[in-house]
């Protein structure tokens, strides 16, 4: 972490490419405040009509799962094939199911 008080904080940028779609993480940038982060994100990430809505989130507010825990954290899903529709045998001839 830098000590210089004149350094601008880091923001994570999310862009919605089209109405109806999700906002997707595209990268990060430094800016003094949220408004400037939005304007800089417009200049950096939407120069070719890539978006019509921007979210900015201060990077310090992002909390993440730990990669070293990944195995035990996600393995409960490994043996539950019955959560997928293909697990079930459908009677021959049944339609629209």
């Amino acid at each position: 972490m830098s000590e210089n008080p004149n350094n601008w904080p880091l923001w994570e940028i999310f862009i919605q490419s089209k109405r109806g779609l999700e906002h997707k993480h595209v990268g990060s940038l430094h800016a003094a405040d949220p408004q400037m982060a939005i304007e800089n994100a417009r200049d950096v990430y939407t120069r070719r009509q890539e978006g019509n809505s921007i979210w900015v989130v201060a990077s310090q507010h992002v909390h993440a799962s730990r990669p070293e825990d990944a195995e035990s954290f996600y393995d409960p899903a490994d043996d539950k094939a019955y959560r997928h529709p293909t697990f079930y045998t459908m009677p021959e001839g049944a339609k629209y199911i």
Binding site: S2, N6, L29, D43, R48, P67
Partner: protein, 313 residues
């Protein structure tokens, strides 16, 4: 405790399985250091690369060419930013990375230490310099470090217009008056060899290459990429009636590649060592811009603090 040897093996197994390494993953110190150096050099190259082209924005021959050049230079600034962000994910502050450029500690691509003497140089830079950079960057889209690979995908999408606009400038000049054609040929003569140098030392003289390949930071060797670039560019020069300035250039029916002359590595080493035609000018321009922008950075912080206080009250 898992020992380092074991962590090393797990790391290499991930790489061998074509899994990307992400910022919070364990990685060997040497991998981190290697990437911080490579990505920051790459970022600095994008930023310093704006200077030779910026030299022609006010003198572009038409409003159309001026708008195109402005858009291209703005893209380069964006590319610098994507890459600086990737460096930051490795735990180095943005300020530190930029300070290393400004102090001269960090390197950037030597090609930007050559001057842009005529308008045709803008054509040659787009066609040859961006063309050579694209070869490298297409490969880096598959590099093993996730944030670097993602930055590269974004950059490659934007970069192809850069090469095409440069080639178009050269094509138009080559079809113009004899003086215009001569200007295009002169630019090709001056930029050809430095562009080939952009791929770096020969494989035999590239001591870090083997490790970079093992870590899948690089996927193709310097010489391989350089040869593909030559094969493609010779054909493009023929189409627009310009001559590659290499008397030894000759199609080899057996290898299905062009044989070509020898790079002057003394010149290359000289420019890397800081003695190119524009090294001092480039660093001075970056330092000037950074210092003269200091009050803007401070004012923005002060304004943000004032607004936050007003909101809280």
């Amino acid at each position: 405790m898992t020992d380092v040897k074991n962590l090393d093996d797990i790391f290499q197994a991930k790489i061998d399985a074509e899994q990307k390494i992400e910022p919070k993953d364990w990685m060997p110190d040497a991998y981190r250091k290697n990437l911080i150096r490579q990505i920051s050099q790459h970022a600095h190259s994008e930023v310093v690369g704006m200077l030779p082209e910026g030299n022609w924005i006010t003198r572009a021959p038409s409003l159309k060419r001026k708008a195109i050049l402005l858009a291209k230079v703005q893209d380069e600034a964006g590319h610098g930013l994507y890459l600086y962000s990737a460096v930051e994910t490795m735990g180095v502050s943005r300020e530190q990375t930029i300070d290393d450029l400004l102090s001269g500690k960090a390197k950037y691509s030597s090609i930007f230490n050559y001057p842009t003497l005529t308008w045709a140089d803008i054509g040659a830079i787009g066609w040859l310099v961006d063309g050579a950079a694209i070869m490298n960057q297409v490969m880096l889209c598959r590099t093993s470090y996730g944030p670097y690979a993602r930055a590269m995908v974004r950059i490659c999408k934007e970069e192809s217009f850069h090469q095409r606009q440069g080639y178009e400038i050269m094509a138009v000049l080559a079809k113009g008056s004899p003086e215009q054609k001569e200007m295009a040929q002169d630019a090709l003569n001056r930029w050809w060899w430095p562009s080939l140098m952009m791929f770096g030392p020969t494989d035999a003289n590239s001591p870090h290459s083997a490790q970079s390949m093992k870590w899948k930071i690089k996927r193709q060797s310097n010489d391989e990429l350089r040869q593909i670039f030559i094969d493609r560019t010779v054909q493009q020069a023929e189409v627009i009636g310009l001559t590659i300035p290499d008397p030894e250039l000759k199609w080899n029916e057996e290898t299905k590649h062009y044989d070509w002359g020898t790079i002057d590595w003394t010149e290359f080493n000289n420019v890397v060592a800081g003695n190119g035609p524009c090294n001092k000018e480039r660093l001075a321009a970056r330092n000037k811009a950074h210092n003269e922008g200091a009050w803007v950075r401070e004012a923005a912080v002060a304004y943000a603090a004032k607004k936050a206080k007003r909101k809280a009250a």
